[in-house]
Subunit: 580 residues, 2 copies
């Protein structure tokens, strides 16, 4: 096995050692994995430029959790920040039966206050490539993230074979601190945060230097590493002719990415923790919030090493490619490839992107969607103005989260916790999605889409033109608490006729799906997981500016929401006001 | 009245307009002043260099509160920060009967969470010059402060006469954001934050330029202002031959300051909200946490304007003087003084400092201290190491605040909330205060000095040599909830014989007192105010590094602590666990 994977090895501490009350009865071979984490700021040089990151237990990115299907993961999270709250969202884990462990501030729980500890306890019920990250303010952008990998159960085989594996967590990095970024975006007039200074692979990037300096434009100096630097790239070492699985997840704040391994074909086999019908590509797009596994064979000339490149797509890039090296053993990993790193496709070559996205189909035998839906919700994505501030809105409501987590306020019928009138299920039929809004004004709201338990929901995500002429951006939407089937993508405004193009045969199950510029995306899911669930654009500044909605279903069925999740706002007050 | 005072005019909104439940019955002419404040980050240029400040209602410094003795001040404080808690301490207000309104996180209340509102309600019972500031993490350094001025009751006269008044709130300012400063100080090895980039007068300073550029060394360009800039100095306009009161308070994070008005004699009449026997000076020291009133007569050539200068003392300065202009009407305020700004005394001319400090005596007729004490607590101030971290410690315990506010944990006997063994009342008799510690190791603790209610407490603050040879720093100590009498200052180690030098005749009543390098300061107060009270070095980085203690007295007498102050930690849990 390659050194790279060793570096990322998971420290699994069995609960036996620590806290007897936490021991789960072993179901078959399933275990309880117990972690004690401390979140704090750290000086760090993610891209060779020293800054401050939000780390866990002295590590950036945070420790990788590696579990097996059926395991219970317990993370006792202590907030060691001086004045800030914190939560962690376990991205892709559906939290079936444990919606209070979803780690979304103001939705599933109150932020954990400085000095306090919250226990996340949940079962990982599906093998796949996941990650975790902060979900309060823009703390994900501050570096609060890490990988979460779930292996198949011991007696279960993956539907593909490989000899070794690697893991790449992709992110983007700004030199401006996140509090200032939040303020910039919330200012009137809005100050855009700009493109990231660096892209990071497993938290490592290179600012103002390049491993492939001879090909860099504008010219950069050659990066020099001893290998111990926090920004030194992690090399992936392979043995010739073996097959490797590369797990890839993107927790970027802003950037849509494209990954390629020089000269190597990649076979996509997993997306967002679900198997897909294998297909081959030479480069692949990864949007924020997505995860993939690809297989590749080390079938090239083993006397050479090869570039792995990650570049920006979907926005005019101003950030150099991130690079690392695919090293063929026994060639020295210090031999830099002599070839040019794989070129990232043009940022606005959306046909290339769509071709990749449309290639993703569920693996034969995967769960099929219900044939019909009970309710269709059309969600128009618009960029708007509100008293001079710039906002993103859905059906003309820009999400502004309340103080009391929805999970509690809905459970306990606290009517004053948020707007009781639900947001609209659709938008004006005459809205022209190809042009800037005629009336760009929007308002903030915190209403909830209340979904009938076990009903089948269709979502049509409708993109639109932004405030400027001929601009429509990519938005990768992520749903908490569920996977959805992606029934289709289309151009311009969704019409009734588009329903006939839905793929009900082998639509991929995912938790994230992109809407392309001026296009639409159709999703279907069953509202079968009691809880309150964020559904939002995974671009951190967009969510900060209101680009999200909240779904809730079956919360009345939950009997045992831990009070510890609800110590703030009106739920906190309610618990405290109960007299002896 | 001068334009300057108008600029600082207080907006007093009577509760009548807003919230009928808040109306206090009028006691004589006393009123309830009602304020609705929002704390948020703002882009601001305090020293002409844009940064981020923590402001209130869009203002920096926050709005000035102007009240009259006997008034009830109500501040409904809403936290509009994205992820951070907040509190506000009303520095110098003793909070008699309202210790939960003292605004010290982890001591008197839980931090107010983002989106939440806390109501500070307290009576201002003593005329004087006060201020308010954040007291959570290092939020004071982030700019969370403002002035609080209490006038004498309508039927009461001040013991001096003046024709007009001005107010100067002094602070220091760093370009590095406060989260990074906190991290720097908490790092191993500690990274010192360095000297401030600028000194601010009412939140206004000039970085990289000077009003008196012809005298600046190293040379700086001449500042040019239209007058509307956030960093434009506020000119003080006087009429010839009239007498003015200048209120001065220092909320600096680090700097000890010295203020002078070119050519003008100043008569000191108030210190920390207590009248002092008037005495004249040409320059005066102001330590962080102190406030003064001085009177000066506009008795100089009215065809000229004059510099008001504020410079650094007690640390080798690396920050230019702050300057503003005393403008004689009708001379144009744009006529810069042609003279050199008053020179700040040498930073380490401690004799000059001591001379000023020793001149401060209580005004005849002021309350006298009890003749004897019930308990003497000796507090040795040391700089220490803890596993490589740099700390400040008192009797070798570096204060680390608990999660649950002491006010609640003591009231409800929550034994696990903090160390039950109290910190020591004294230190080793063989400790050599003139040399670096033989064993610099310290430990953190959160024990409390439990004071018998109504007992008289003597505090001997003993300074010592820091970690480096021949270094001993100034520490301005501030007590919450009380004024104390300053019985004396002395050199080197306090001995029994020093008692005979105590001033029991006319010691000044204050809430802040400095300890000079390698010296001691003796204080006396009566523990007659039920509550939990911080007593700490007012240098923000020093408190952050553990330089403080906590006193508590008579908490059992408190019947009505608002639960809203105690929603966190073990008190929050206790309230929540009470079953119906």
């Amino acid at each position: 096995m390659a050194s790279f994977a060793t570096t990322c090895a998971v420290v699994i501490i069995y609960s036996l050692c620590f806290l007897s009350t936490l021991i789960e009865s072993y179901k078959g071979s399933s275990k309880t994995l117990y972690f004690k984490w401390k979140v704090e700021y750290m000086h760090w040089s993610p891209d060779c430029n020293e800054g401050v990151v939000m780390g866990i237990n002295g590590q950036f990115p945070g420790p990788t959790i590696r579990a097996r299907v059926g395991d219970t993961v317990v993370v006792e999270l202590t907030n060691k920040l001086h004045t800030e709250g914190v939560v962690i969202h376990w991205h892709g884990i559906r939290q079936i039966g444990t919606p209070w462990a979803d780690g979304t501030a103001a939705i599933s729980q109150c932020a954990i206050n400085p000095g306090e500890t919250f226990m996340y306890k949940f079962i990982v019920d599906k093998a796949g490539t996941y990650f975790y990250h902060g979900h309060y303010g823009m703390q994900r952008s501050a570096g609060l993230y890490g990988s979460l990998i779930v292996d198949v159960a011991e007696n279960v085989k993956e539907p593909f074979r490989y000899d070794g594996e690697f893991n790449l967590l992709l992110s983007d990095w700004w030199h401006k601190n996140v509090h200032e970024q939040e303020l910039d975006l919330s200012s009137n007039p809005m100050r855009w945060i700009g493109e990231p200074q660096s892209l990071l692979l497993n938290g490592r990037g290179q600012y103002n230097c390049s491993l492939a300096s001879q090909f860099s434009s504008p010219p950069l100096s050659r990066c020099k590493f001893t290998g111990t630097e926090q920004c030194a790239p992690q090399t992936m070492t392979v043995e010739p002719n073996k097959i490797y699985r590369l797990r890839i997840a993107s927790t970027t704040s802003l950037s849509s990415l494209n990954l390629a391994i020089g000269n190597h074909k990649m076979v996509v086999v997993e997306a967002d923790g679900n198997y897909v019908e294998p297909f081959s590509v030479y480069d692949m797009d990864i949007y924020s919030g997505e995860s993939y596994s690809i297989l590749f064979k080390a079938d090239q000339n083993p006397a050479q090493n090869y570039w792995i490149s990650v570049g920006v797509r979907g926005r005019k890039p101003n950030t150099p490619q991130a690079l690392t090296i695919l090293n063929y053993s026994p060639t020295s990993s210090k031999n830099l490839p002599t070839s040019r790193p794989p070129t990232t496709p043009l940022w606005n070559d959306y046909n290339h992107s769509k071709s990749f996205t449309n290639s993703i189909k569920a693996l034969r035998g995967s769960p099929k969607p219900p044939k019909t839906y009970n309710r269709r919700i059309m969600l128009l994505n618009t960029q708007n103005k509100m008293n001079g501030f710039t906002k993103w809105a859905i059906n003309n409501i820009s999400l502004s989260l309340p103080v009391t987590p929805y999970l509690g306020s809905i459970k306990y019928n606290l009517n004053n916790a948020f707007t009781n009138s639900p947001p609209p299920d659709t938008f004006s039929p005459v809205y022209d999605v190809m042009r800037p809004p005629v009336n760009p004004n929007t308002t903030q709201g915190d209403g909830v889409y209340m979904l009938r338990f076990n009903s089948t929901i269709d979502i049509i995500l409708q993109n639109a033109n932004a405030l400027a002429d001929n601009v429509s951006e990519i938005h990768p939407w992520h749903l908490h608490g569920h996977d959805f089937w992606v029934l289709g993508y289309g151009e311009k405004k969704f019409t009734k006729k588009d329903v006939f193009k839905f793929n009900l045969k082998n639509p991929p199950l995912r938790n994230s799906a992109v809407i392309f510029p001026h296009g639409w995306t159709a999703l279907r899911f069953v509202a079968d997981n009691p809880g309150a669930w964020a559904f939002h654009c995974h671009i951190e500044p967009h969510l900060h500016m209101g680009m999200g909605v909240v779904f809730a279903e079956g919360i009345y069925r939950l009997k045992n929401i831990p009070k510890e999740a609800l110590t703030c706002g009106l739920t906190g007050k309610m618990f405290m006001d109960k007299k002896l």
